[in-house]
Symmetry: C2
Subunit: 537 residues, 2 copies
Amino acid sequence: MSGLNGKQLIAGKWQSAGVDAFQAICPVSGRELATKFFEATEFEIDLAATSASKAFPALANTTIEQRAALLDRIAAGLDARGEELVERCMLETAYSEQRVRGELLRTISQTKLFGEMLREGSWVEAKIDHAEPQRVPFPKPDIRSMLQPIGPIVVIGASNFPLAISVAGTDTCTALAAGCPVIVKAHPAHPGTCEMAAEVIRVSADLTGIHPGAFSFLQGPSHSVGGRLVEHPEVKAVAFTGSLEGGRALMDLASRRPAPIPVYAEMGSVNPVVVLPDAAASRTQQIAHGFVSSLTLAMGQFCTNPGLLLVPDGNAGDQLIELIKEAIKAAPAGTMLHAGIQRAFEVGLDLRQQTDSADLVHGTHGDSDIRTVTPAISIIEAEVAVSDGQINQELFGPFATIVRWKNQTDLAKVIDQLTGQLTATVHADVDEMLRYPDLIWQLRNKAGRMIVNGFPTGVEVCHAMHHGGPYPAASDPHFTSIGPTSIKRFVRPVSYQDYPKNLLPLELNDGNPLGIMRQVDGQYTRQNFENSNHLAK
Amino acid sequence: MSGLNGKQLIAGKWQSAGVDAFQAICPVSGRELATKFFEATEFEIDLAATSASKAFPALANTTIEQRAALLDRIAAGLDARGEELVERCMLETAYSEQRVRGELLRTISQTKLFGEMLREGSWVEAKIDHAEPQRVPFPKPDIRSMLQPIGPIVVIGASNFPLAISVAGTDTCTALAAGCPVIVKAHPAHPGTCEMAAEVIRVSADLTGIHPGAFSFLQGPSHSVGGRLVEHPEVKAVAFTGSLEGGRALMDLASRRPAPIPVYAEMGSVNPVVVLPDAAASRTQQIAHGFVSSLTLAMGQFCTNPGLLLVPDGNAGDQLIELIKEAIKAAPAGTMLHAGIQRAFEVGLDLRQQTDSADLVHGTHGDSDIRTVTPAISIIEAEVAVSDGQINQELFGPFATIVRWKNQTDLAKVIDQLTGQLTATVHADVDEMLRYPDLIWQLRNKAGRMIVNGFPTGVEVCHAMHHGGPYPAASDPHFTSIGPTSIKRFVRPVSYQDYPKNLLPLELNDGNPLGIMRQVDGQYTRQNFENSNHLAK
């Protein structure tokens, strides 16, 4: 790739003071790619954080239009450098061209959507409670509130979404939209893709007059760069997408700080898919096909991968499992994102193979390539699922446990063992769902998203999307890491009491110059109150 | 007090298995009050938590009207038992009748307000994104989301709000409103008041058909009851109002759990009040009077007590300080809530008196009563405030540090030393505020509520109230612990993907039978979509 510099981007300048360097590895060939990337030094980490802190007032006080223009520019920049990005990303990830192009389009469109949200303006949750000076025994003051940015955010991107949940991904773009400076720690598996996206943001900030300290970007193959950032006193929150182990380590680090900060960690889950008997009988082929497609898509490298399928005992269930087995045996081998993920997958699979009770089925390794893995499933009985703790252990990649259950009690026990989940899926028609009210309640209570007659992969970027869930699916179930609502992680409400009207933010002005939806004296309205304190009835 | 039983209330039954007992102490006389209260045993703690967990599905699936009726009953019950409550509360807290009656009225009215919020219904943040089956390359699924309860909540009430932030206070009532079972750990300084309020809730739940396990109530003078509850695996969140030390201990405990849970701790602050020069000159008397009233109200036992006053150098500032000194010297002694608070106040005051540079002024102790304290102020220069770390240390009670500052640089340095605050107050007119833009930004960035030309005590219970702030004012700056919005602590969003329309919660029904404000395809509307997927333009 031409033009990669291997440096850190700190407050608008590419620089590098370090000596430790690493190279990206092509997962297909196993060979190092040319560019040397330097690991950020302690000095550079501190400089990035203090630059972010210094840029905060300037960024927070930009206009809505300025921040929306920044997002538009980022989207346009990603589009303009699309061919280069796709080429480098494929080289670093072994993803198919279709997979990478799809992710690039999603990254561009989500960035534009965040800009639309800014321009629409109602997301700030403006509330106005007018004064009642004559109230007894005490006069009621004028109280107004809205969301405002919290300060510098550290973004630690995902290995499996090198564009959409990475340097110029959801976390960075919603934080910047909120008015929070961002320091990105690049994923070491795709440092070149990351550098290109960082350069797009640098240019976009420059073109839209955004303070250069509002965005910095650091490289590093070790965990210490991320750890130091999380501990930096100027950092106010962290967004992370990755493993439970990694996420929990950051959560622990952040909670032990003198002033603890939130780590918004999306840590994945096994995403149970429950097939009820009638559905198993009436849509056997469809479910088998849909399940295997969802399981093997991009070699199962999604946090929403369906890693647990609950199939009823009986003929229909038998047939469903047979169809899945056949499809898995025929499923082609594929290259994983990087050697670490490949090894973890193989070690995990070996562990499961050693379990006597597990019936393990997988495709055949192409002898020619030691760097590929094949999709696999393990079939166990409900009693085994309840007694061994493995069903909660996500094996990142194209693997699922199939659990056979006999009756509702059986099923309830298996579900009861599950920890928090990003998604829970049910295959059933309405009548059958009505016969399993406890199951539906159990799943709704464990998951961030309920899916009916579908599969969990494919996270739609829209307002109603909640991508998160109870721990350990995510660190904080209040917040989503996908979609416009993910901006809420980076803002907090501030109340203004008896504040001079002409000094209030536009969003809290009686005249409602932005025309946003607000809660005024408890009621939702876009009304202009400039000439009246009273709501139109 | 007639009728107190000293027991635990677990799942609708007053019971007591323990042997350790304690008595309330009248702060005025120092004598023990008659009733013996038993400390909850480990078995009782576990029973309360598991009962809450078992009651969760029943409570979460009650109708809105049923939960609103519960709140109305609680409000009516508090009102009906008002005289008893006021009498016992005064005995246990040494608060004036006016103070206690005021708090009772607030408790009743806030409980009704939460019921109104439930009936209005829009607080669930319903969002609907309609499907686009024809979209290419992938069809868009139907995605809807709304807030739902998270599970059993532990409430650890405040010492200083024995009614409004205690057994039947904001935390309990918003958690129940959300559909979350509650286990209250009573404050040991007012166990009788707490027991009465718990009985009101028991009766109210009984009358409205609420599952008895939805509310339990435990006594205990030690921290171990609260600690065990926070560690209980069935508990999903904690609400706490109290000291930084206590709140941080609970946060640490909760973050070390196998599955960490949030502790919503409101831990107080020093609530800086900045007087700008023109305001000091033009409203000297008014500011002095307002400040001393706010400082000494209920013997300063508010988390919003103005513990830090920043006064400009010069004649006006001198005069302001003189007026405050005179008022403090004349301020009457008073009894504190309990001996622990009194001792901590005196120890803290002694420490400050030992600081050479501090000019300490206080009222005169009535020799007759060793159990009273007098309001006090300490006057220091800005350089001292910047160098010693004491300005961040809240001394709970009627004490404030007055810092004299020379210029904007001086002032900025002092504010920079401050940690997160519940409130920040400025005394200035618009012209003068405009001359201090950096100050306003600094304060807005540190505080949960900005007040102009007022004082921080008196937290209005309304929609736009944010009572919280950056750490250590609160554990999580996203959430308020006062007002209807405090319900958001106890709910999380859940998405429904391609869910059968007739099984959706009413809030997500196309027909919008509840008539609530929703975000449909990105737009805020109360529209009924039963016969159309399209927004009216």
